[in-house]
Amino acid sequence: MSEDQIAVHDPHAKPATYVEPEAADRFENPGLPPHRPRRADVDDDAAKRAERQVTTLFGLSILGTLGFIVAYFLVDPELRASVLVIGYVNLYHVILGLTLAMSLLGIGLGAVHWAKTIMPDTEVVEERHLQASDEEARNEAAGVLSQGYRSAQLHRRPMLLLTAGGALGLFALPLALQVAGGLGPLPGDALEHTVWRKGMRLMIDPSGTPITPEMVSQGSVIHVLPEGFVGESSHGEDGPSALEIMEAKANSSVLLVRLNPEQIKSQKQRDWGVDGIVAYSKICTHVGCPVALYERQTHHLLCPCHQSTFDMTDDCKVIFGPAKRPLPQLPITVEDGYLVAVDDFAEPIGPSYWERG
């Protein structure tokens, strides 16, 4: 540290560069070890052998390519056979794949073997330089920048910079707005309703037959869709479009189960069902997979996607897993001997969302 640095003390001064005490006490890089020639470098027979191996590999590649072309035309695409280890396969596919692999591997292995045995294996040293430019280049760059800045008169007319910056910063907005605005409709209250309406029959998915209470046996589970969206009734002229059917399946799928009424823990659940027959939304309240696994012993419903588990006997409350809310219950009753909906679900079905409340 020099004299004046001590005299004018600066508390924020950088500490003097720390010199490792044993910096000098280090081994020195011994340099490249002596080169050891390979077999093919000193033995002409070995070199010839290596050459033969490489040409054989390239030759195999040519055979593979020809094999692929021949197989493409001559082998029956329907050819199927049982292959050892792999099992029953489409042999045409396997033959094409294997010949292609042979064609490619022949080139690859040949080239690498060539490089490793015949091409020089003496290591070459290339110097490396610091990334940073030297002082002169930096000064020149600074000159170019400042020259450009000044000749554009930016130093005298700052408004030019401000407005140009503003304009450039904003010009993409109309384009972004067009894309964002056109991507989709606003949600509105679309998520709060399903296609279920009062008096709509519960239909078996996929046969589309209406359901009488007698058809629902203890312990069985019936997959249900609303009337008009499944089976024959969905195909007519006035029937829903394929898109509407998909959307109905995505938000109005229901699971129908008959429980022993005494097992049901909640009065509401009993009231909204028919003699222990209860209907629940099949769409998981986590991220919307169909809750399709029903354990008839425990009356648990399990979502196969993320294992949220719902207790059917306790109003489908969550007993395990990442879902929070119970599955919504569809109120049902009997009309003309068939099960029908009393109303839509009382709450939004499916995954949680911000506005859900």
Binding site: L96, A111, E126, L183, E247, K282, T309
Partner: protein
């Protein structure tokens, strides 16, 4: 150190090689096509590029696997676009796959069946595409690990590290978009889950899903939109960033592992022409060939077995492709009680934390790491020599701990499969994994750090005492000992070349100024000091020449039975004094 001592052999071989070339082609001339091109483009000026040197190491091939898989994906993917119909329009299947004849499905699914069963060789291209995509991401993951554990991300390569992390994120999204396209039951379930976790986004969730899906789920826009993202948008960004990534490798010149003759100021390896052209070009064909081999014999994503997507159906054991496992696993582990409603709005952190937050967070942490480490070390020098992972114990341990966290999440995705195969309770597995997520990283960190330190100690031991020669000597007094052979200078250099980073408290000078007044340390700086302690407090210094000289004085320490007691006593003393562990707690 600008002049590099060269092995005499290397010098000889280089001169030999030089004379050989000149003898073979005494008066080389450019071939006419190159002359033609040179007259128009001046290409001859750029031929110096072919002399560029690349260092050799198997771990440098991991990135190449990713690069070549990307190219295979581009080739096979282009083929697939000729037949794939990215539409959710409803059709009745009438192709040659009998079990699905007459079944209603989307055009996307029907055309995927068409590719698989009615286009000659179409299934091979589809399987090549899918396998190459998986290999692409495996390659990326291993490459990231290699770059991380060897410290290749250090200055001046931070920018390329950030580009690489963006590439790896895009690769995962690209993969997800790709396997969603066939619109089969499995991939449709994935899109359903995507819709679900997007709607969990605070404030904008519902709008987000309605804009992305063009309305309610499923709508009929998501497949065409994913398609254009998959075949144009993401590949364009991927290929563009990838080009920059590769250009920067050329620009910076490749890093190299430390070794004799290798310094921070040189690159030692083989020239692009002919050796690297043959090796790297050949490796492309090997990767392609191995992918073809796998595609030929191992079925991947048999969409015909899953059936068309139906929002009311699902199969048990629905897993995404492996690179999305960690996110799906997080969705499985996060407990439902985290969700709450307040002021009429719903927060679902158990959903958005595992998806919308986790995905970017992983990559932000990854991208930020070089800058954080540089801040902690205060090391602003350029680094072109790689670290051996053991020589950076805390970095290696942090990386291993992060991988263990990732693996816990990934394993959580197959909790149902584990439960079935091992006859365990899925609830117990899930709870155990929740606990492991927090505990395992700590254990892994401690174990890996200690392993690194022990390996360094073993290196020191080897340098100080050499290798056992198997020769037993008898001294005139009758004592036996085994002769240890000193390492030669080339082997030794691998073990002594590195620097042991020291904590800032040691390197940044004293905490007090020359008047004995404590220097003011801001909260940020004090955190930096603490982190520096955490990183470098425990360290093993490499052997110095004087330590080696001192060890030689102990010459007869390796005595066998004749002087066993003394030998043990001596070796214990020696271990104490040369174990080399510097822990600033203990000094």
């Amino acid at each position: 150190m600008t002049t590099i001592p060269q092995g005499a052999g290397a010098v000889r071989d280089q001169s030999e090689a030089a004379t050989e070339t000149t003898a073979d082609a005494a008066d080389p001339k450019l071939p006419p096509p190159v002359v033609w091109a040179d007259e128009r483009l001046g290409v001859a000026k750029g031929f110096g590029l072919f002399k560029k040197v690349f260092p050799d190491h198997w771990s440098f091939l991991l990135g190449e696997i990713a690069m070549y898989s990307l190219i295979i994906c581009l080739i096979t993917g282009t083929f697939l676009t000729f037949w794939f119909v990215p539409s959710m329009g409803h059709v009745i299947y009438d192709g040659s796959f009998v079990p699905l004849k007459g079944v209603g499905m989307s055009e996307a699914y029907a055309s995927t069946l068409n590719i698989s069963f009615d286009i000659k060789g179409g299934l091979l291209i589809r399987q090549l595409h899918h396998w190459a995509a998986l290999l692409f991401i495996v390659g990326i993951a291993l490459h990231v690990a290699r770059v991380f554990f060897t410290g290749a991300f250090r200055k001046p390569r931070e920018i390329n590290w950030v580009i690489g992390t963006v590439l790896s994120l895009l690769a995962c999204i690209e993969g997800f978009a790709g396997y969603s396209l066939p619109d089969d039951l499995l991939s449709g379930t994935g899109i359903r889950a995507m819709n679900g976790f997007m709607s969990s986004a605070p404030v904008i969730g519902t709008y987000l899903t309605f804009f992305v899906f063009g309305g309610q789920f499923p709508g009929e826009l998501i497949i065409p939109r994913l398609y254009i993202a998959h075949v144009l948008l993401l590949p364009a960004i991927l290929v563009g960033l990838f080009a920059v990534h590769i250009f920067l490798v050329f620009w910076h010149k490749h890093t190299q592992y430390p070794g004799p003759g290798r310094t921070n100021n040189n690159v030692v390896g083989f020239p692009l022409l002919p050796v690297y052209t043959a090796k790297a070009g050949g490796f492309f064909f090997i990767v392609f060939g191995v992918t073809a081999l796998i595609a030929a014999v191992v079925t991947i994503n048999p969409v015909w077995a899953y059936g068309p997507y139906d929002p009311g159906q699902v199969t048990a054991g629905s897993q995404p492709d492996f690179y999305m496992w960690f996110s799906d696993g997080a969705l499985r582990l996060l407990p439902g009680w985290m969700e709450f409603s307040i002021f009429g709005v719903t927060f679902s952190p158990q959903i958005f934390l595992g998806s919308l937050v986790l995905l970017p967070l992983v990559w932000i942490i990854l991208g930020a790491y070089p800058f954080v480490e540089q801040w902690i070390t205060g090391d602003k020098r350029e680094h072109h020599l790689l670290d051996r992972p053991r020589n950076a114990p805390v970095r290696t341990a942090v990386g291993a701990a992060a991988i263990s966290m990732y693996l816990v999440l990934a394993v959580a995705t197959i909790n149902d499969i584990i439960a079935i195969k091992l006859h365990l309770s899925i609830n117990d597995i899930t709870v155990a994994l929740r606990v492991l997520f927090f505990i395992l990283p700590v254990i892994v960190f401690m174990v890996v750090k200690r392993l690194c330190l022990s390996l360094q100690r073993a290196d020191r031991e080897l340098v100080l005492h050499g290798t056992e020669s198997g020769r037993i000597m008898r001294t005139p007094e009758g004592r036996f000992y085994e002769v240890h052979e000193e390492l030669n200078e080339f082997d030794r250099w691998h073990l002594v070349q590195h620097e042991a980073q020291r904590p800032l408290s040691l390197t940044a000078g004293p905490d007090t100024d020359e008047y004995g007044v404590e220097r003011p340390v801001g909260p940020l700086e004090s955190m930096r000091r603490k982190l520096s302690e955490f990183y470098f407090k425990d360290r093993i210094e490499p052997v110095t020449p004087s330590e080696l000289a001192a060890a030689h004085h102990h010459g007869e320490a390796e005595a066998l039975p004749g002087g066993q007691a003394r030998a043990i006593k001596e070796s214990v003393e020696r271990a104490d004094e040369t174990a080399g562990l510097r822990s600033d707690d203990r000094t």
